[in-house]
């Protein structure tokens, strides 16, 4: 009897044990149980939850690797040990071993803490509730390290992950039942609980916190933070557009490289995992809001000394290159559980996410990045949007029915026919 059969026999024998969900979780990760459906016909699809989750994780890997290089690069650049990168995406001075090693040892603990703590919570709940382990945390666990600053203390991350998984997901009934995106719940918790570690100009570059106050202090502002402080003219001297697009800027671990996020997004769209409607409409929404703000500046309705001036005059399409907007649109807004389900609803949902992200950015300098708040807000509204889309559809079809002429074959069947056609 081979290992495979032994495992299956073991599985059948221990089905009612308390720890069975834990065993089952590991077992089905590697094997498919040789169980067949007992009654009825089922549609068989290859893309189950595990496959879906793995595809998203795969599309996140480039961002993670880039984040490791960028962590080292920003650190050494701030220390003045290396020169700014030149020569495009594969330019010299970025893809070096030194950068990678430093970033690897900084980011690996974040990934490990995120996965170990999150899966532990998931296991505990599966054993208590006696259901199968769900793979929902695979993607959340990968997203979390990518949307936090690199120097975040690990215990804070652990506390936030417990909070996010329990309050954001398990209380609603686990994977697929949550109202809010768990990864963003974790980020929101961190943001409000430990604001000094999640915002400001000290946290985005490794080493900046420790060196604060010293003679050789290094600062690591994000582009948005830089703008929120009212610096308009000298942005171009600090970062050029290629830097922003390729991602050679300070920021949360995985969100800087718009190029790689774009590639990941295309991968998700072509593998039909994520909705292109949400992505496209969110981009349109953010461009619309950006254009409105640019229009206000162009019409000179707002004086130059206003604190909103610098962010309002920021070129509308460049909003997509800085901060977490692109990352949020591609990987967070498209979460199939918390987003809108109807196609028309997806357009509205995505548009409002983009629209509000840019609005929060500009109007709230206290939160230089607003995309996570915008997505959480729209998560809450997604069921309402769907409700009205469905109602509208019913109404339209009712109208069509009313105007239609129905010729019944037998005079007594009029009522039955009506209900059927609706």
């Amino acid at each position: 009897m081979g290992l495979k059969e032994k495992l299956h026999t073991f599985r059948v024998k221990n089905q009612d044990k308390k720890w069975f969900p834990v065993f089952s979780g590991f077992h089905t990760f590697l094997f498919t149980p040789n169980e067949i459906t007992h009654h009825g016909t089922h549609v068989k699809g290859a893309d189950d939850l595990k496959r879906t989750m793995n595809t998203v994780v795969m599309s996140l890997i480039p961002c993670l690797i880039f984040g490791m290089f960028n962590t080292g690069y920003q650190h050494y650049l701030a220390l003045g040990e290396i020169d700014a990168v030149t020569g495009g995406f594969f330019g010299s001075g970025f893809w070096t071993w030194d950068n990678f090693i430093l970033g690897f040892w900084k980011i690996l603990p974040l990934v490990l803490v995120s996965y170990i703590v999150g899966l532990a919570v998931e296991f505990v709940f599966c054993v208590i509730k006696g259901h199968e382990i769900e793979e929902g945390y695979l993607v959340t666990g990968m997203l979390v390290p990518l949307i936090v600053p690199v120097d975040l203390p690990l215990w804070m991350l652990a506390v936030a992950v417990v909070f996010g998984v329990v309050i954001g997901k398990e209380v609603f009934g686990g994977t697929g039942m949550n109202i809010l995106n768990p990864a963003l719940t974790i980020r929101a918790f961190l943001f409000f609980a430990y604001p000094t570690w999640m915002s400001g100009d000290k946290v985005w570059v490794h080493g900046a916190v420790d060196s604060a106050g010293a003679a050789d202090a290094i600062s690591g502002e994000t582009v948005l933070g830089f703008l929120a402080q009212g610096n308009t003219t000298d942005l171009a001297q600090k970062y050029d557009l290629a830097d922003m697009f390729f991602g050679f800027i300070p920021g949360s671990v995985g969100e800087t490289s718009t190029l790689l996020i774009l590639l990941g997004g295309l991968f998700l769209v072509f593998s039909k995992i994520a909705s292109w409607r949400i992505m496209l409409s969110a981009v349109i929404g953010s461009l619309t809001m950006g254009l409105i703000f640019n229009g206000i500046v162009a019409a000179e309705w707002i004086p130059e000394y206003s604190k909103f001036y610098s962010l309002m005059s920021f070129e509308y399409w460049q909003h997509l290159l800085v901060g977490g907007l692109a990352f949020g649109i591609v990987f967070m807004a498209t979460d199939p559980v918390t987003g809108s389900q109807t196609n028309r609803g997806k357009w509205i949902y995505g548009f409002l996410i983009g629209f509000m992200s840019v609005m929060i950015r500009v109007f709230n300098p206290g939160y230089p990045e607003g995309v996570f708040l915008a997505i959480l807000l729209m998560n809450v509204f997604a069921p309402t949007i769907d409700h009205y889309v469905v109602r509208g559809n019913i109404k339209r079809r009712m109208k069509r029915l009313k105007n239609a002429t129905i010729y019944p074959k037998v005079s007594g069947e009029v009522e039955a026919l009506k209900t059927e056609t609706v």
Binding site: W155, M156, V159, V171, F192, A193, Y194, P195, W197
Partner: protein, 215 residues
């Protein structure tokens, strides 16, 4: 030697757990969210409500046969308002700092649903002694939750209890703070109280399945 008959004792004990005004009836949430960032404020609020509800229930119960039912809400409001003004003045006289922390929320005891709820549901139909016990019981049930929420919010949010640092000094980095621990700013803001109350409800209902309503 039972001090109270079993029925009377239940008037006090029931609202403490199985019929708690906050976690089961979900009344008085507004003040539970607003003033529980500090334990001291929670305790003072609990005592104030205890006084207002205990005395108010007795007064309403005594007047219950002579209040015309058409204007009973107005009479009830007058009774609460009188008592709240007494509390407010006492606080201003003897604990001025605290009355500033509680600010408008002492005055808002008038609108606390628990008080009007008990007047309407109990004092109007029962004798003074029973009404007194009912008032005390409900105010205690309210106060217990307030103090539990206040305890966790102050401990985790500010690292203090009753204003006394218990986890060390966050600025000088002593005690727990020496290990890198930091206060949780989230616990200071009112949404945290909602989540703490939610967790208390969750714990209570998973211990006592009879409390779970039919879906």
């Amino acid at each position: 030697m039972a001090l109270l008959s079993k029925k009377d004792a239940n008037l006090i004990l029931d609202p403490l757990a199985d019929n708690n005004p906050i976690t089961i009836q979900v009344l008085g949430i507004c003040s539970a969210l607003a003033i529980t960032a500090e334990l001291k404020a929670s305790v003072v609020m609990a005592i104030s409500v205890l006084f207002v509800l205990g005395v108010g229930n007795v007064v309403i119960s005594l007047l219950r046969n002579i209040i015309p039912s058409k204007i009973r809400i107005i009479v009830q409001l007058i009774v609460v308002a009188t008592l709240v003004i007494v509390v407010d003045q006492v606080l201003k006289a003897f604990a001025y700092e605290l009355s500033k922390t509680l600010a408008v929320f002492v005055g808002l005891i008038i609108t606390n649903c628990i008080i009007m709820g008990r007047f309407e549901a109990f004092a109007l139909g029962n004798g003074p002694w029973k009404s007194f016990l009912d008032g005390i019981g409900n105010a205690l049930g309210y106060g217990v939750i307030l103090i539990i929420v206040g305890f966790f919010r102050e401990l985790l949010g500010s690292g203090t209890l009753f204003g006394i640092p218990v986890l060390g000094d966050p600025i000088a980095k002593t005690g727990l703070y020496a290990t890198g621990y930091e206060n949780n700013g989230f616990m200071i803001i009112p949404p945290a109280a909602l989540i703490v109350v939610g967790i208390i409800i969750w714990v209570q209902r998973s211990r006592n399945k009879a409390l779970i309503e039919e879906a």
